[in-house]
Subunit: 343 residues, 2 copies
């Protein structure tokens, strides 16, 4: 079966060129049926420049777009003709099977949450990002959808992350850790300690508290946290790698051997730059919403966008949301869990 993947071509730092190129790559590589959503002038400009035959795509016109820096809730309410709101509507009406956007993250989350509703049993959506580690990939959730979560929300992120990891990343029973400031169960803020109780009484492969330094060392497959701290963890990593790159350049100035060394290292450094580039893994899944949504990094290039489309197809073909619904209800109805959650 061919899934219809809606793609926002007017969102992201390199729109519309990179999204259109990404759509073309996905079509050529694995025959994706991409529905392009965005401004007509964007579409024509990009098709002309990239020399892409638009007859291979369906196009749904948007009359406006939401900028990367616009306030999410306000712009979603006001810009009913934007590519993000139209994409959301198409997904809601099942005119498309998934929606991929590299536009304003907050607006995508807001549009999805307000308009589509959640998977039955799920309390809050969460944004998961895939980070490369020394041992594989870490799914960190949430990185900004829910900044004031209850323990049940975090617990459900763990369930959803675990399903995602086993179905999309093909590792069953992944290790789930709770982000905290120490390994002991007595550590951390109250809502984290309460979440610990839920996890440790569940059938998930819970490995306890995980310190932030363990994220990139690859000690866990999934790491669970609230959206405020997750966002900080993600952004501090981005900032540090950017700073390190600049530091490296500054530090070899006037140092002949150093400059030569840097030149020789170019290839290795290129591979390493990917260490915090989650676009590489196809963008961030918005989990919990009753529809498949992938949020690409604003800086996504065509390669990342192609991967985002691929991940959307994987989520669909493996019935991720149906299985999340089943697992959430199974685990949250367990008597031990209900007892802990009882007021």
């Amino acid at each position: 079966m061919s899934y219809r993947i809606g793609l926002d071509i007017s969102g992201g730092d390199f729109a519309p060129f990179e999204p259109l190129k990404g759509a073309e790559l996905a079509r050529k590589e694995f025959g994706a049926a991409v529905v392009l959503i965005g401004l007509k002038e964007d579409l024509e400009k990009a098709a002309k420049k990239e020399n892409i035959d638009l007859r291979n795509f369906t196009f749904i016109e948007a009359k406006e777009k939401i900028g990367m820096a616009e306030p999410p809730a306000y712009s979603v309410r006001r810009k009913k003709e934007s590519s993000i709101v139209i994409g959301r509507n198409l997904l809601k009406e099942r005119e498309i099977d998934a929606f991929v956007s590299c536009g304003n993250t907050g607006a995508v989350v807001c549009a999805a949450t307000l308009g589509i509703g959640l998977i039955e049993g799920v309390e809050r959506p969460g944004i998961g990002v895939l980070l490369p580690t020394l041992k594989g990939i870490c799914l960190l959730i949430d990185v900004g959808a829910n900044i004031d979560p209850k323990p049940l929300h975090l617990f459900q992120y763990g369930i959803m992350a675990s399903e995602y990891y086993s179905l999309v990343l093909n590792k069953s029973n992944p290790a789930v850790g709770l982000l905290n400031i120490g390994e002991e169960s007595s550590k951390g803020p109250d809502f984290v300690k309460d979440t610990y109780q839920l996890f440790s009484n569940s059938s998930l492969n819970f490995t306890g508290n995980s310190e932030a330094k363990d994220i990139f060392l690859g000690k866990c497959d999934c790491i669970i946290c609230d959206g405020y701290v997750g966002n900080v963890a993600l952004k501090v990593s981005e900032g540090l790698s950017e700073a390190m790159g600049k530091f490296l350049l500054e530090n070899v100035k006037g140092d002949f051997l150093g400059s030569l060394g840097l030149f020789f290292l170019k290839k290795a450094l290129k591979r390493i730059r990917k260490i915090t580039d989650y676009a590489e893994y196809g963008g961030a899944p918005l989990l919990g919403v009753d529809g498949v949504i992938i949020i690409g990094h604003g800086r996504s290039k065509s390669y990342a966008i192609k991967n985002a489309i691929k991940v959307a197809i994987q989520e669909l073909s493996r019935d991720l949301n149906i299985k999340i619904k089943r697992r959430i209800n199974e685990i949250c109805q367990d008597s031990r869990i209900r007892e802990i959650l009882a007021p």
Copy 2:
């Protein structure tokens, strides 16, 4: 005037050798009067190995030590004869003017808070760390003392950080930012939004919300956050730089030019490693406690310990705590601030 700086020689990953070497460096370089506190066997072992003349130091014996992984509150209550508790007691009784320890951070904070009390007007102590950035140094506070702060606590961290920065790091009116997930004042958890109101109505040089990626880019001199998120930001940086180092080594394996490049880059990389090594800046000041306390990184070597002693002397000679008291009371008594804080 010569200040008596108490140094825990039985705390830290490289105790007792590195602390003793650090004390000797501080004595030789700037005539510090160091009071060594720790186990007698530790002292003798280190003096012998490092060939250091103990007649240049005062020694106060401790009968036990608190391990790096022991639960802080419990061990402080139980181990009354530990170097950390004895150091705290000496500071309380003004037998020493400052206390430096590279031991169990939680235990130092706990001992200090329980036993010494806070500067008049200060509500909670906070741990500040000094991080190198592209533009200078960033003082990030709090990184773990207070995981459930009220807006007033965060606001006071800003006041204390600002004083520290101007007195110890010699930059008056430093830029103070509030760690958040976006720049707009409407972003983030409620306690952060409420803190924003306090800052923006104060006389501090408040530059608004600061995203985590800005920490290492050096957009602010001081960045304020709660201890949970600050700890995560610090630890994720440590983890990422460790992972990057390992990644680099892995990625040049079998790559002749890459390996050669790495060899040529050695010097530059060594400088860069320091980017997250706050030990370089003499350890982390515990601000708000009515006594000068510096918490060294567990991995501190003699050079870092010497710097920690130097920072302690600077805090003392510039009357940091007296000035913090004055500023806290001045700013918190301002009518606009009192109005915001009124229940």
